[in-house]
Symmetry: C2
């Protein structure tokens, strides 16, 4: 990146070490999820802890902190220089306001909590996890106090994942979408086309992993994912990770009796990866590299997964491929496959949720974690509160805590404030879709697999900017206005009204 | 590891960081060889350079250097404490005697040389590599001067790979084996059974990679390789690497028209890995962990590959498996398969060489690199000198430099002094075989796949000791005497006399 100011040159040179440490950490983490042999856990934990320590030392180095403070007062800063300062100050808030002892305790407690959660989930025993959850909530509250906030301690945590996002924003977004979504869901469930148990994926047919893999590769290449700067591997939970500017890897998982999951996971992670691969190469190893926030990142994965991958038009394009790869599907025409890929059914598990119920799962988590952080809900009352909200928003009650309050890993990591970014991603994706559609009418051409148009638009309007603009500004520049839930609601209502012949 | 001395406690605590950095470096290196996408090279180079720098800083930290010096003067040191000091002093010699600037220049020059070698080899153009080789030789000479030596600058380099090994030792060993080997080779080539082009592997039959993989897994498990603390992957050049005490990984490569290579590479690397997996767990993350020298390490891989894997008895055991996995081999009985796995034929390429010619390839490299380091051979005269020695020892002259002087990567890495450890490994393996055979008569039971006996012997006599004993001492404790070439010569003469019906 070009800068004429010596302070910024120094900052960039210093930061490149932090960036290298991040890439090393990512390599350790990728390998942990994809390759690590069963007994290698302790060794790997020692290695990641060591890099975490080195990285924290770099961030907390008084010379660096002072350099950033000094640079922040300089006049005539370029747009990029301002963004560098803003991004560094955002990270420094975490590293300098939270005492080192608290960071270490948090890391130790979440390691223990993760193991307890894992075991509690397996045994369906919430009481094994609850004491850990109590400690973690206390630690998160203390962290919030150190980070400071204006109105709500939960604000301080939200800001870690989505700079500037507040509780009030979340409440507003959810209040706007919850009624339309629940009533859309009711209409679907009562429609003639509704089918709680979809055919073809009811366990009778086994879909070859090799074919699933080939299909993922084909679609990812079609999307523009650069395999020379990345790889596709297998892990229990699909993810995207950057091990370096030209090494953005993705993973997927193969279900033998459901051909849909691996493809949608690959497209989803491919969306994340296209964002990272599309950042201005000049920003490599600077604080401007990579996606700007979790919400914007999720908008990219969701856009490719839902607005493109699950569109009837794209499914029409891949129908001949699906027939060729999986002869058992030959009797399913494009319309039937569309319904399969967009099958709606209220279920207990978030990660298996369809597009319509997904945000209701997030809403439940948002309301619960907000209450927990604000001391308005006790951990001991959480399982019951969970079930009550499931009944309220999805009309079903999980028969076990394993299928309920214990299903997600996030709270064991201490990631309070993370869940809302999933919904934010869906909302951003809806707004981006509306803007791209208005400008390019891209959807109709998805039937021929024409993906260069939406990619080109995203490259120019989102990807290349890396972390230069804050989410709000980025979306406004790209779509003409800041986030509104209306685009998402129009998109989802239209799509499912058509798919299920609703009135 | 147990120690009551506070200096040693401090040393072990300090060293655990170095060990963690080594493991992180190994993760980066394993990933580079197994997974790295094509464009990821520069990013990975930055990461490894950063860890190299951190590691050197740790080694050169004056507090640590002083601590080691202080501990070395303590009285009543245990065997293990003495070994810790000896091993640390050996490494510190490299880090403290060689100026930092020279280490950096060496690293920079070898990176360039590696690229030049790669390109020169592809184009069969020695002149592209020769200027780099000249610089590297100069740098190695300077390094030798800094490391200091008694008689021969090459001694200083040998000692980096095999503590205590001297040029005089090498000359002695080679002088003892070269005549018996060349005359054995001559007898084989003139025998009735000699066949320059073996059947079954002449390119007509394609052997399924999946089957090759299954066979490697089966044999590795049989050997006792612990897959819970390791993995088997694919890389262009098979290798073994420790990413942590319980994460010792190996790689192999699959040739579609030769079923032998992947199996022998897997057994070879498995031999290295068994050594690392068998070290006393108390030595984890201390200077006593891991194999003691390259020569001893190579003895483990060679022993499993040759004395076990290529023995007629073991081949008898796997013959039914080979027939079941590769039906095309059904007409080859155990004796024929034995000859296939032990096929002798003088060739141009070291890594494809058989057991009889292998050490002659090493002899050529030893004589040439010794002359280069001592200024008795100019780089410009090297290709001709190579061919002359090939004619002398193997009776053939490579038609191109690509198949001659440019074939090996080692000199581009600056690894002068490394090659002799390959022969040393073969000699140690011969001596270990004689001792194990005398004590346990294990060979006859290889026909039933009984590998626990040799593994148990190696676990007790070699593996568990890690780096406590120097190679000489270790071999003497294990076999009753220091290294003698006689055991190796007896082994190889007996084996090939029988296989080829020589008189």
């Amino acid at each position: 990146m070009h800068t004429t100011k010596k302070q910024f040159k120094k900052i960039l040179s210093y930061y490149s070490d932090i960036s290298t440490l991040n890439n090393i950490q990512a390599t350790l983490e990728w390998d942990l999820n994809v390759n690590l042999p069963r007994s290698g856990g302790q060794g790997r934990a020692d290695q990641t802890a060591y890099i975490t320590k080195l990285s924290a030392e770099k961030w907390q180095d008084p010379t660096f902190v002072e350099l950033v403070a000094e640079a922040s007062t300089l006049k005539d800063q370029t747009l990029e220089e301002k963004a560098i300062i803003r991004n560094l100050q955002h990270s420094l808030k975490y590293y300098t306001r939270i005492p080192q002892a608290l960071i270490i305790e948090f890391s130790r407690e979440t390691s223990l909590a993760f193991m307890a959660w894992n075991s509690a989930k397996q045994k369906n025993d919430f009481s094994e996890f609850s004491p850990h959850l109590k400690s973690i909530i206390k630690l998160c509250q203390t962290m919030g106090d150190h980070l400071t906030y204006e109105k709500d301690p939960y604000d301080a945590l939200l800001d870690l994942y989505e700079p500037g996002l507040t509780t009030a924003d979340c409440k507003q977004y959810f209040s706007e979408i919850k009624t339309p979504l629940t009533s859309l869901l009711k209409k679907i469930v009562n429609s003639k086309k509704y089918n709680a148990l979809p055919e073809f994926v009811n366990g009778d047919i086994v879909f070859s992993q090799k074919k699933q893999q080939e299909l993922s590769h084909f679609v990812l290449k079609k999307m523009g994912y650069d395999f020379d700067s990345g790889r596709l591997d297998i892990s229990p939970h699909p993810f995207t990770i950057g091990l370096g500017r030209q090494d953005i890897r993705i993973t997927t998982m193969y279900q033998s009796t459901d051909f849909r999951d691996s493809l949608m996971a690959s497209i989803h992670e491919g969306g994340h990866a296209l964002y990272e691969q599309g950042v201005n190469p000049e920003y490599a190893n600077t604080p401007l590299d990579g996606g700007v926030s979790l919400g914007i990142h999720e908008s990219q994965s969701r856009f490719w997964e839902n607005q493109i991958g699950r569109s009837p038009e794209f499914i029409q394009f891949i129908t001949p491929l699906l027939h060729a790869f999986y002869p058992e599907l030959e009797t399913a025409d494009s319309e039937r496959l569309s319904l399969l890929f967009n099958h709606v059914s209220p279920g207990f598990i978030r990660i298996e949720a369809d597009e319509v119920t997904y945000n209701l799962h997030i809403l439940i988590r948002f309301e619960l974690e907000h209450a927990l952080i604000n001391g308005k809900l006790e951990v001991d009352d959480l399982p019951e509160a969970w079930n009550t909200k499931m009944k309220k928003y999805l009309g079903i009650i999980p028969p076990t805590n394993k299928q309920g309050v214990l299903q997600d890993v996030h709270w064991s990591y201490g990631s309070f404030g993370y869940f809302p970014t999933y919904t934010l991603g869906n909302l951003y994706a809806g707004q981006l879709h509306a803007a791209i559609e208005k400008e390019t009418h891209y959807t109709q051409n998805l039937t021929t697999g024409e993906l260069r148009t939406p990619l080109g638009w995203l490259r120019s309007n989102i990807h290349q900017h890396g972390s230069v603009y804050l989410p709000d500004e980025l979306i406004k520049n790209a779509t003409g206005s800041t986030l509104s839930t209306s685009h998402y609601l129009t998109y989802i209502t239209d799509k499912y009204t058509r798919l299920y012949n609703l009135s």
